[in-house]
C-alpha cells in the first residue's frame, strides 16, 4: 500500500505477509503431536491458536521493531523458553524523563491507562508513543482479523 509521507510512521505490510506468517505458525503448531490428538480439550487448542495468531501477527508486523510486537514476542517466548534476546533500542531519555515530571491531564490519563492495559507493552511508554503504537497495533489487528476470517471461511464446510 502506498504511503504518503507521514512523520508518524505506521505502515503495515500487505495482507499476504500476515497470511504467510500465520499459516507458518499454524503448521508449526500442527506438527506438535499434542495438537491434533482428539483427547485434547478445545480450550487448550483455542488458546494455542490464539497465541499463534498473536505471535505471527507480531512477527509479520515488524518483528522487534515495534514496541508492542516486541513485548508480545517476549511474553510468548517467556512461556515457552527463555531464549529470547533482542537488540536494546537506544533509549530516548528526555521524553521519558519528562513523563515523570509532567502533570498528567486527567482526561487523557484515564483513557491512556486503559489503552496501556490493552496494547501489549504499553506500560512503559509515554502517551504520545503509546498512541503511535496503538495506531500500528490497530492496523495490524485488523489485517490479522481479515486473514483469519478468510481462513475460517475457506475451511468451514458449506
Amino acid at each position: 500500500m502506498a504511503s504518503a509521507y507521514n512523520p508518524i510512521y505506521t505502515d503495515v505490510p500487505e495482507k499476504d505477509v500476515f497470511a504467510l506468517h500465520f499459516l507458518q505458525t499454524l503448521s508449526n503448531l500442527r506438527t506438535q503431536n499434542s495438537f491434533s490428538s482428539p483427547d485434547n480439550k478445545t480450550s487448550d487448542r483455542v488458546k494455542k491458536i490464539k497465541k499463534a495468531a498473536y505471535v505471527s501477527m507480531a512477527r509479520a508486523a515488524g518483528g522487534t521493531n515495534r514496541l508492542w510486537s516486541r513485548s508480545l514476542l517476549h511474553q510468548a517466548a517467556k512461556r515457552n523458553n527463555k531464549n529470547v534476546r533482542f537488540l536494546r533500542r537506544k533509549r530516548r531519555v528526555t521524553w521519558l524523563m519528562r513523563r515523570r515530571s509532567n502533570r498528567g491531564d486527567p482526561i487523557e490519563d484515564v483513557a491512556a491507562e486503559r489503552l496501556r492495559n490493552l496494547v501489549p507493552g504499553g506500560g512503559g511508554m509515554e502517551t504520545s508513543k503509546l498512541m503511535e503504537e496503538t495506531a500500528h497495533y490497530i492496523k495490524c489487528l485488523s489485517m490479522q482479523v481479515k486473514v483469519m476470517q478468510c481462513l475460517v471461511d475457506g475451511l468451514s464446510p458449506k
Binding site: I138, V145, M148, G154
Partner: protein, 358 residues
C-alpha cells in the same frame, strides 16, 4: 535618518510578504540569552527597546538613556510602525532594527489576519510544532520559536505587561529542541512550553487514530474519541479470539493440510497461470504419503471458496506442489521463494480443477 529610512523600507517590504526567509536564518548571537547578549545591554534596557514608545525622538532617546523609563504606556498601534524612530546609536539601532523587524513581521503577519506558521526552517522538521495562530485580536503577539531551555530569562523579565513580546530569535539547528510557539498571555517558562509541545504531539497522534478508527471523526472531544479507540481495540481483540475459536472448531472436524488447502484454492483461482500438471502430480503424491511429514492429511472441500477471499494465496501454491517430495525444512525456503510472485489475480473458478476429494 537613513537608518530609519532603511528600517521603514524594510518594514514596508515585510508588511507585504509574510517574512523574508533571509531573516529566518539570522543567527543572532546563538548562544545563551541570545537577545540580550546580542544587544549587549542589560536586559531591562533591551526590553525597553522592544517596547515602542511614542514615535518622537525625545522619548526614544529617553528610552535608550534611561532605564527607569516606565514601561506602562502601552505600545502604540503597531500599524503606525514605520514612523518609529530609533535611538541614534548606529550599531545599536541596527541591531534593534533587525530585532524589531523580526518582531514586526510577526505582528504584521498577525495584523493582516494571517495565521502563519512561521517555522519555515525545516531543520528539525520532524520536531517542529507549529500552532496555528489564532487571530482573535488584531494585536496578537506571538513568541518566536523558542527552544526549550535556557532562553527564557528575557521572557521572565517582561512578564509584567500583558502585551509582552518576548522572543528569542536564535535558530535551533540540529538540537533536539521542539519548536513551540507560545501564545499571548500564556506562560512561557520551559515547563509549560514542554507541556504544550507534548500536548500538541498527542493531538497530532490523536488525529491519526481518529482517521484509523471508523466513525471517530464525527465525535468531538478527546475523551470520547479515546473511548471509541479503546472500544475498537477491544472489539478487534475479541474478534481475533472468536476467529481462533472457530478455527479450532474447524480443525478436528476436517483433517486438513494447510498447504494443500491453499494449493487447491489457488488452483481454482489461477486459471492457466499455473502449471496445473504440477499440481496434479502433487496431489496423488500427497495421497500416498505416509506419516513422514505433516503433509499427508488431506482436505476435503465440498466447494471451493470465493475467489476474492484468497487473492494472496497464489504465491503459496506453487511451493506446495514442489515441496512435497522435499523435506520438511525446505518448506520455508520455497515459501520465501514463492512469495516473490505476488501475482494471482482473482481469476474465475475452475470447478473441474478443484479435485480435492482424492
Amino acid at each position: 535618518m537613513d537608518l530609519t529610512g532603511a528600517f521603514g523600507a524594510r518594514s514596508a517590504a515585510v508588511g507585504a510578504c509574510r517574512e523574508p526567509p533571509g531573516l529566518e536564518s539570522l543567527h543572532l548571537g546563538g548562544g545563551d540569552g541570545g537577545f540580550t547578549a546580542l544587544l549587549e545591554l542589560p536586559p531591562t534596557q533591551a526590553v525597553e527597546l522592544l517596547h515602542f514608545t511614542d514615535p518622537s525622538p525625545s522619548s526614544s532617546q529617553a528610552a535608550v538613556a534611561g532605564v527607569g523609563l516606565d514601561v506602562s504606556p502601552p505600545p502604540p498601534p503597531l500599524h503606525a510602525y514605520g514612523a518609529l524612530t530609533f535611538p541614534s546609536n548606529a550599531a545599536l539601532m541596527e541591531r534593534a532594527a533587525r530585532f524589531s523587524v523580526m518582531a514586526n513581521e510577526q505582528q504584521n503577519g498577525n495584523v493582516s489576519g494571517e495565521t502563519t506558521t512561521t517555522s519555515s526552517v525545516p531543520s528539525n522538521s520532524d520536531r517542529v510544532k507549529t500552532e496555528p495562530g489564532e487571530t482573535d485580536s488584531s494585536q496578537r503577539l506571538e513568541n518566536n520559536r523558542c527552544g526549550i531551555g535556557k532562553r527564557k530569562e528575557l521572557d521572565k523579565k517582561v512578564k509584567g505587561s500583558t502585551k509582552k513580546k518576548s522572543k528569542s530569535s536564535e535558530e535551533n539547528e540540529k538540537l533536539p529542541y521542539v519548536h513551540v510557539r507560545a501564545r499571548r498571555g500564556q506562560a512561557t517558562d520551559s515547563h509549560s512550553l514542554a507541556e504544550r509541545a507534548r500536548r500538541e504531539k498527542i493531538n497530532a497522534r490523536m488525529k491519526l487514530l481518529q482517521e484509523l478508527v471508523p466513525g471517530c471523526d464525527k465525535i468531538q472531544g478527546t475523551a470520547l474519541v479515546l473511548d471509541e479507540i479503546i472500544n475498537h481495540v477491544q472489539s478487534l481483540q475479541r474478534q481475533v479470539e472468536m476467529l481462533s475459536m472457530r478455527l479450532a472448531a474447524v480443525n478436528p472436524r476436517v483433517d486438513f493440510n494447510l498447504d494443500t488447502l491453499l494449493a487447491s484454492e489457488n488452483g481454482s483461482l489461477m486459471d492457466g497461470s499455473f502449471n496445473g500438471t504440477a499440481m496434479q502430480l502433487a496431489w496423488p503424491h500427497q495421497v500416498t504419503e505416509t506419516e513422514q511429514s505433516f503433509h499427508h492429511r488431506q482436505l476435503q472441500l465440498q466447494q471451493p471458496p470465493q475467489p476474492q477471499q484468497w487473492p494472496y494465496d497464489g504465491l503459496i501454491q506453487p511451493a506446495w506442489g514442489r515441496e512435497d517430495d522435499q523435506g520438511h525444512g525446505n518448506e520455508h525456503n520455497s515459501l520465501m521463494a514463492v512469495s516473490e510472485n505476488l501475482m494471482v489475480g482473482s481469476a474465475s473458478l475452475h470447478p473441474n480443477q478443484v479435485k480435492m476429494e482424492l
